[in-house]
Symmetry: C3
Subunit: 121 residues, 3 copies
Amino acid sequence: MPLVTITAADHYPQEWYRQVADIVNEVVIETLDFPVDDRYQIIQALPAERIELQTRSGDALILQLTMRSGRSSTAKQHFYKKVAETLEQKVDVDPANLMIVITENKDADWSFGDGKAQFLV
Amino acid sequence: MPLVTITAADHYPQEWYRQVADIVNEVVIETLDFPVDDRYQIIQALPAERIELQTRSGDALILQLTMRSGRSSTAKQHFYKKVAETLEQKVDVDPANLMIVITENKDADWSFGDGKAQFLV
Amino acid sequence: MPLVTITAADHYPQEWYRQVADIVNEVVIETLDFPVDDRYQIIQALPAERIELQTRSGDALILQLTMRSGRSSTAKQHFYKKVAETLEQKVDVDPANLMIVITENKDADWSFGDGKAQFLV
């Protein structure tokens, strides 16, 4: 946990996607209190015009997280702030163009492998 | 709000995706009572055979909306009806092939930019 | 119901995606008790390095299901087990690399076509 879908424009060098995914993963684990090896990510690169963020200029970056309910609003706010700051500092993402959406579910809704529901075992 | 993912076959002209996205956005704002500049969309074009809608013939169009809980069932029904009608009238989408799924979350689950949780501020 | 998004590496033959989608659909219907024609799938193929599953070796396969709340934890566990077993047997997917995430919603959140909310009618 969580499952993170990263949606970005498709005109960046390969290395950029790796850096963004690494940063998002590090901040998720740090601010939302997940185990250090909890990395589950889907990186979706689309033509820039296929990602709409109002009328803002510049490329959009959208993070969609699915995770178990339980994290506090304060932890989520810490995550938003830290990931925006770090993406700006390290890969020059404009914080104005970073959208984040969280969807929560329950223990029974996760299988991390081997056909098991690990949170129920 | 909301974040809308539009999934469609990839064989249409570029302009078609723009028209569909514009229509969806207009109807979302009108029927679900969002501010006029609340446009957040991901447009995903896939080979037609990668989108399965039972055994229906013709291209599928799938809309996935994530939004805060609070909209009434009546408002959702109004949205379904109006978006199906408008897509049929303006871009000839068969209403039979339009699937819509909504997922709801909470105030703390949104950051629209700048690393802030705008609904909590 | 449900809407199933299948995310897999993009280097497989076309037929493989069809087989995986067929298997997932069959097991969903069998174990989660859906009508036999309830097939709604989005199949997303991405470069293998764009799908992160910890540090596991081999290709990841991620299933994301959105469905109405109501299925029991036992039914979900049955689904996880059966789909992992069947994918391994029939298309050689390593169960260790299969991740499944479920998100639940409500009756009013579905339109399967024709602009109607079928669960409310």
